[in-house]
Symmetry: C2
Subunit: 196 residues, 2 copies
């Protein structure tokens, strides 16, 4: 669930926050739809803004905290670039493969199609791995770009797509080892336990 | 091709620009990959920044021109929200349907699957149409959010998915009627004519 992205960004920034979990009925309600027209989570508001889309929320938080992005225009442009790249150049291919596997299709067509989807994704991951090289992060320091990219790479652990990209998997683990990520994950699980 | 998005934003802002078209060989080159790791277009640079991903480029341009976004944090957050919503909550569903149709599959499974994809997309478009209501734009004025949303809705004209959403189609036409859009489209076609 994509609230983890926002929780993680808030934890990196050290901003206190309050999370309200909503149920399927809330998601359909007119009042929630005026906040989030598609009825999805997460949505965000503070004293200044009311918004949705986890990527947009993270970019907004990044304007408020140097823990998430450098202050200069050049550095911010890189962060915005990587947030978009994670969501638009990697995640759609990741989701295509994951959903295909979830459908459990069994035919020669399905085998061929899976190979196509896996190859497309692998090409993107290879390019990302080339960019990363031996670096710790996508740019010189950890930013909101690494945060979103890590949450996208996490989706790929189960389907094995990361297995052939050792550097990307190390990169993912490096980002997930951050204390703010652990606090975010723990807060997310705690919220679910309370609801269950 | 997604350079139209960037051209349109530059035209709205009234920023002079120079476009360099690249061929398939350039896209694979190491020098281009250092600028755009996935070898895609567009990529952008000016005196201050070097970046890629059309959505990120548009958000950067929006920080430089009030023609693309209001100056206040609340207004900017809305623009960023709608740019992300267009790219992440509408376009993936649009692309799923378009690619499925392109594959020209013919079986009872394919018919059922197409209905699923079309329904998912229609649900998103219905929510978007509800949000728009009788308004001219997604917020009180035209912004970079409308610009990106329009380029996404344009993709859907041929497959007929907009036919049942008259208000969205009027909205798309309203945005496409802007002089800056025509200048961008003309500049894009001119560039292709020169290359051909």
């Amino acid at each position: 669930v994509k609230d983890l992205r926002v929780r993680w960004a808030l934890e990196e920034a050290g901003f206190p926050y309050e999370a309200t979990l909503i149920d399927a009925q809330d998601q359909l309600s007119d009042s929630y739809r005026r906040w989030q027209p598609f009825g999805q989570v997460p949505a965000y508001r503070d004293d200044e803004v009311e918004m949705f889309e986890s990527g947009a929320i993270i970019l907004y938080l990044a304007t408020k905290s140097e823990a998430l992005a450098p202050k200069d225009a050049a550095g911010r442009a890189r962060v915005s670039t990587w947030v978009m790249a994670a969501l638009n150049s990697i995640e759609p291919h990741a989701q295509n493969l994951i959903r295909f596997d979830d459908a459990h299709l069994d035919s020669s067509w399905a085998t061929e199609r899976r190979t196509q989807l896996a190859t497309k994704l692998a090409n993107r991951l290879a390019a990302l791995s080339d960019w990363l090289g031996d670096g710790d992060f996508l740019e010189e320091r950890f930013t909101a770009g690494d945060l979103i990219m890590t949450t996208v790479l996490r989706e790929l652990v189960d389907c094995g797509a990361l297995a052939q990209f050792a550097k990307l998997d190390e990169y993912r683990r490096r980002c997930e080892a951050r204390p703010a990520f652990h606090r975010a994950l723990e807060a997310q699980m705690e919220a679910f336990r309370e609801t269950a």
